[in-house]
Every structure is written in structure tokens, then in C-alpha cells.
């Protein structure tokens, strides 16, 4: 039991010792806390239209109100749930696809590798965001679930390629050969013997994917290709832009969701930076 706890805690402790990663963990942790506590810390319901419309920031509405008279701060707090959900779900799905394709492709040489690599290279060069737009234009239902699926289908190639390279360098190790000789199945060798040695790489690609998904979702919703009725940072920016918030001086309404997105992104990037430095200490600035 002690070793299990150690194996989870020691990488976190290692990350904590790096100041960038520590800052990143504090930022992301803060957002997670805000998302969990949203019902208690948000001053009003995010969908209540009980207030004056397009109010500038005041003590009652710290960030003002929307064109429908909703409280911007409450929307900002509740919106963190959408971004974190999309980041975790799409990031997880993307990483899962990347692991399966990257590891199998790197371990199995021959035509399966060639075919999977071709698929990966194709997925890598086809521009993801335009594809997301086209796919969401043809899907009649709009919502967070659809966006997660679309993001996962379009985002896995880079991770698969990185994991395949790592796989190729690991598969010639002695312990892999001995596992092969002892008659273990391919799936067991790949996922039980080799996979645990790639934790830092997988963590890095998960965070890269999560960040890409969060920005992608916000971009799609900002363009109005999501469900505009969902409370999220992307739809907040969509409504702010469509209600000419900048011209009417409602700068807080636009400024806040974008800053939240950027801050969450920076937090994830900082954690990733820490992971990089731990696996390659030469990068330390």
C-alpha cells in the first residue's frame, strides 16, 4: 500500500519542487476548486435574467451584466466547469487514442506500423480547426458533448507520433525482450510493461491535448458553432461580441473570460514545463 501511495505522490512531489510547475498546479487547482464550489461562491444564478441589462461593473455586479441581464461574474464562475470538463474529457480521449495508436504502431513493425503512421501523418497535416468547423456545421445537434467528440477526432495525431518515437527507443530494451521470451502477449507487453515507463511523456501529451481542447472549444463557441445557451467562457465571449460589448464600454465582460482562458492555459503550460524539466534537467532556465 505504501509503495502505491509513493508512486503517485513522488512525481507530484518532484513537480512541486519546481517553481513553475508549482505555480501551474496552484493555478489549475484554483480553477478546479472554483468549478467545484461554483454553486456556493457564485453571487447569483448564471442564467437568472433578473437584473438590469448591459450594466457596467458595480459593487452589486462586479463584472457587469449581459444583454439579457445576467450577472457576468456568476457566468464566469460557472463557465469554468465547461472549460475544465472539455479539457479533461477531450484531453483524456485524445491521449487515449494517441496511446493506442502510437504504442501499437511503435511496437508492431511492418505493415501495421506503416498503415498507422500514414494515418497519423495524414491526421497531422489536415488542419484541425477548419475541420472542426465543417464537422460542427453538418452535425444538427450542438453542445459540449459534440464538441468533445469533434476535438478528440481531430486532435490525437501529434501525441501518437511522439509516443511512437518513444516506443521505438524503448522496445529494444532488455526487459521487453525478456517479456517476449516469457511468452507475454503483445497487448500485455505494450500496456503493462512499457506504458508505465512513459508516464511523464503521457502526462505532457495529456496536458497539451487538454489545452488545445479548451482553446478549440472556446474558439468554436466564440464563432457561434457550439450551443450558445450553454454557460461557458466561449459563449460568454460570443454574446459579448454580438452585443457590441466593447463599443458600449463593457470591457470587463470581454476581458474576464479571455483572461480566465489564458490563465488556465498558462497554468497547464507551466505544469508541462515542469514535467519537461524533470525529464530533461538541461532545460532549466
Amino acid at each position: 500500500m505504501k509503495t502505491v501511495i509513493d508512486s503517485v505522490l513522488s512525481p507530484i512531489g518532484l513537480l512541486w519542487s519546481n517553481w513553475r510547475a508549482r505555480l501551474g498546479m496552484v493555478i489549475v487547482g484554483g480553477f478546479i476548486l472554483i468549478a467545484i464550489l461554483a454553486p456556493w461562491i457564485a453571487p447569483y444564478s448564471p442564467t437568472s435574467q433578473a437584473f438590469g441589462r448591459m450594466l457596467p461593473p458595480s459593487s452589486a455586479h462586479l463584472l457587469g451584466t449581459t444583454q439579457l441581464g445576467q450577472d457576468v461574474l456568476s457566468q464566469l464562475i460557472w463557465g469554468s466547469r465547461t472549460s475544465l470538463l472539455v479539457g479533461a474529457a477531450a484531453g483524456g480521449l485524445v491521449t487515449f487514442i494517441a496511446i493506442v495508436i502510437g504504442l501499437l504502431s511503435g511496437f508492431l513493425q511492418g505493415w501495421i506500423d506503416d498503415a498507422l503512421m500514414l494515418l497519423t501523418n495524414v491526421a497531422l497535416v489536415i488542419p484541425g480547426f477548419p475541420l472542426m468547423i465543417v464537422l460542427s456545421a453538418y452535425i444538427p445537434v450542438h453542445g459540449v458533448g459534440v464538441i468533445i467528440v469533434v476535438l478528440s477526432v481531430t486532435g490525437w495525431a501529434w501525441g501518437a507520433r511522439v509516443l511512437r518515437s518513444q516506443m521505438i527507443s524503448l522496445r529494444s530494451r532488455d526487459y521487453v525482450a525478456s517479456a517476449e521470451f516469457s511468452g507475454e502477449s503483445v497487448l500485455r507487453i505494450v500496456f503493462r510493461e512499457i506504458l508505465p515507463n512513459m508516464t511523464s511523456l503521457i502526462a505532457a501529451s495529456f496536458m497539451g491535448a487538454a489545452m488545445g481542447a479548451i482553446l478549440g472549444e472556446a474558439g468554436l463557441e466564440f464563432l457561434g458553432f457550439g450551443n450558445p445557451q450553454v454557460v461557458s467562457w466561449g459563449t460568454m465571449l460570443y454574446w459579448a461580441e454580438n452585443s457590441s460589448a466593447l463599443i458600449s464600454g463593457q470591457w470587463a465582460w470581454i476581458f474576464a473570460p479571455g483572461l480566465a482562458l489564458a490563465l488556465l492555459g498558462v497554468g497547464i503550460a507551466f505544469i508541462n514545463f515542469g514535467v519537461d524539466i524533470i525529464s530533461n534537467p538541461k532545460l532549466e532556465a
Binding site: 489536415i126 473570460p257 492555459g265 532549466e284 532556465a285
Partner: protein, 331 residues
């Protein structure tokens, strides 16, 4: 030569795949765009089936078996016939796209080159002065700018530099009172209008190159031949440029595919925010107006552009680094 053939084959395959994907997506997706379009054209209420067919023929909606449609689609594609735009009816899609294409090509072409040069030089500088205030400032700033959402940076630039300070125009690609033409006044107006969108793309896109270059160069600077150069007493500048940067710049090019994808996606958002008359803004409007032929053609053009740009980068890489030619596709 083998490398060139291999890359050409990959280009041909991806082009065919993109074209086929473009054909399949609308046909595999749920919902019937043609029906929606006819409904939109004839208005609300019950629709006479004959009318639906008549409108369908007028717009050139697909009929016949899937294979028949595919052959027809390929035939039309090879002849540059992309159908009629719903929004700009009766103009063919091709003429609408032709008007938007140069704007995006110039904006994206220039910003891609600027972000590469700027990011790579800053990254090299940061790596050669590792641990100094410059390195720390550059990496932390890049950390922030690279994670700013494109459209938000665009909105902020629009608000501060356009709306509050009035330094730059707030929307469009040129002075709306002018007609697009090759006069110096028009070109100046176009350049003036493109500064803000370009600035946003450069600001957001540079960080990726900076990190890639910095990491590669730190790796190279740890090599034995650099240590030898240092031991020989070569000037620091020469080591950084001739030994470090020169060897680190090539691996940095492998990130081109991902970087270009980010820039292409970002430019769609930036063009939309600035109402810039390029492909991104056109795509946004096409989706908003359910103009499916226009939307698909734009997607096809964006994809082909990205594929060709990647092909050129691959070939350049192969010319500059003989090892890739033997190793085939970079592992």
C-alpha cells in the same frame, strides 16, 4: 530522389484523401443540407415536392448513386467547377473564393515567415544566454502569449489599439470607400488594415517557435563538438551561431506542420474578429448562412494550402539535412 518521390506520393495521397473526405463528410453526416437550403429559399410552410426538385436542380444538388456523384464531383473538381454559392447566388463558388484567397495568402504567408524568424532568433538568443534575465523574461512572456486565445488577443487589440486609441482601423481589409485595384493608395490602405490582424497572429504564434528552438539549441549546446569549440577558445558568438543555432534550426522545422495548423486555425478567428476579407471570414459567413458548397470549397482550399506548404517544408528539410533523405519520413 527516392525521398522526393516518397514525399510526392504522400502529397498525392493526402490530397486525394482530403478531396474524398470533403466529398464524404456532407454525405455521411446526419441531416439533409439540401432540404434545409430549399426550405430556406422557398420560405416557411409546406413545400411542394416539385419545387424542391426544381430548386435542387437550379443549385446543382447531388443526384444519383454515391459512386456516380463521386465521379461527377471529381470531374467538376478537375475543371475548377465548385458549384454555385447559395449566399452569393448566382455567382459560382470559385469566383467568391478567388476574391478572398489573396488576402489570406498574403496575411498568413507574411505572418508565418515573421513568426518563424522572430521565434527562432529569440529562442536561439534565450538558449545561448540560458539562465539570464533575458532567458527568463522571454520564456515566461512566450508562455503567456502562446496560450492567449487568438480571438481574445484580437478583441483586446481591436479594443485598445483600434477603438480607444484609434491607431488602426477596426474592421475590413481596406478602406470601404475604395475599390480593390492595384493603385498605391489602395495598397497602402490594405497594408494599414492588415497590421492589426498580423500583429495578433505574430504575437500569439511566435511562442511555439521560441520554445522549440530554445529546447533544440540547449540540446545541441550540450554536444561534444560544442565543448571542443569552447575549449579551443572560439568566441561565444561564433559558437552560438555557427555551432548551436545552425544545428538546432533544422529539427525546429519538424514542428512546422503543427505550427502551420495552429496559425491557419488562429487566422480564421482573427479574420472573423476584424471582418478581414479572407478565407477565414468567408468560411465563418458560409457556415452561418448554411452555404454548404462555399463552405466545402473553402475547407478544401485551406487543406490543400496546408498540405502544399507542408510538402515544401519537407522538401526543404530534405535538401538541408541529407540524413532525412536516407531515413525516409522522420521518425
Amino acid at each position: 530522389m527516392r525521398y522526393l518521390i516518397k514525399r510526392l506520393a504522400f502529397l498525392a495521397f493526402t490530397l486525394w484523401l482530403a478531396v474524398t473526405l470533403n466529398f464524404l463528410i456532407p454525405r455521411l453526416m446526419p441531416g439533409n443540407p439540401a432540404q434545409i437550403m430549399v426550405q430556406k429559399l422557398v420560405g416557411e410552410g409546406p413545400v411542394n415536392p416539385q419545387l424542391v426538385r426544381a430548386v435542387g436542380i437550379m443549385l446543382g444538388l447531388p443526384r444519383g448513386t454515391l459512386w456516380h456523384q463521386y465521379v461527377l464531383y471529381m470531374h467538376n473538381l478537375l475543371h475548377g467547377n465548385f458549384g454555385v454559392s447559395y449566399t452569393y447566388f448566382p455567382y459560382p463558388v470559385m469566383s467568391v473564393v478567388a476574391q478572398a484567397l489573396p488576402w489570406t495568402l498574403i496575411l498568413l504567408g507574411t505572418t508565418t515567415i515573421i513568426t518563424f524568424i522572430l521565434g527562432t532568433s529569440l529562442g536561439a538568443l534565450a538558449a545561448s544566454r540560458r539562465g539570464t534575465w533575458f532567458d527568463t523574461t522571454a520564456t515566461i512572456t512566450a508562455n503567456f502569449t502562446a496560450t492567449f486565445p487568438f480571438f481574445w488577443t484580437a478583441l483586446m487589440a481591436l479594443y485598445i489599439l483600434g477603438f480607444v486609441l484609434h491607431w488602426f482601423p477596426q474592421s475590413g481589409g481596406y478602406n470601404a470607400a475604395m475599390m480593390p485595384q492595384w493603385s498605391s493608395a489602395f495598397v497602402i490602405s490594405a497594408v494599414y488594415h492588415s497590421i492589426l490582424p498580423a500583429l495578433v497572429i505574430v504575437l500569439t504564434g511566435t511562442g511555439g517557435w521560441l520554445f522549440g528552438m530554445r529546447n533544440n539549441m540547449i540540446h545541441v549546446l550540450g554536444e561534444d563538438y560544442v565543448r571542443l569549440a569552447t575549449a579551443k577558445g572560439l568566441p561565444r558568438r561564433e559558437i552560438a551561431l555557427a555551432y548551436g543555432a545552425r544545428n538546432a534550426i533544422l529539427p525546429n522545422l519538424t514542428g512546422f506542420a503543427m505550427s502551420l495548423g495552429t496559425l491557419v486555425g488562429g487566422s480564421i478567428l482573427v479574420e472573423t474578429v476584424f471582418s478581414y476579407p479572407g478565407m477565414g471570414y468567408l468560411l465563418f459567413n458560409a457556415v452561418g448562412n448554411s452555404d454548404y458548397p462555399l463552405m466545402q470549397t473553402i475547407f478544401l482550399f485551406i487543406t490543400i494550402g496546408t498540405l502544399v506548404a507542408n510538402f515544401i517544408a519537407d522538401i526543404l528539410y530534405g535538401v538541408l539535412d541529407p540524413r532525412t533523405r536516407r531515413g525516409g519520413v522522420s521518425a
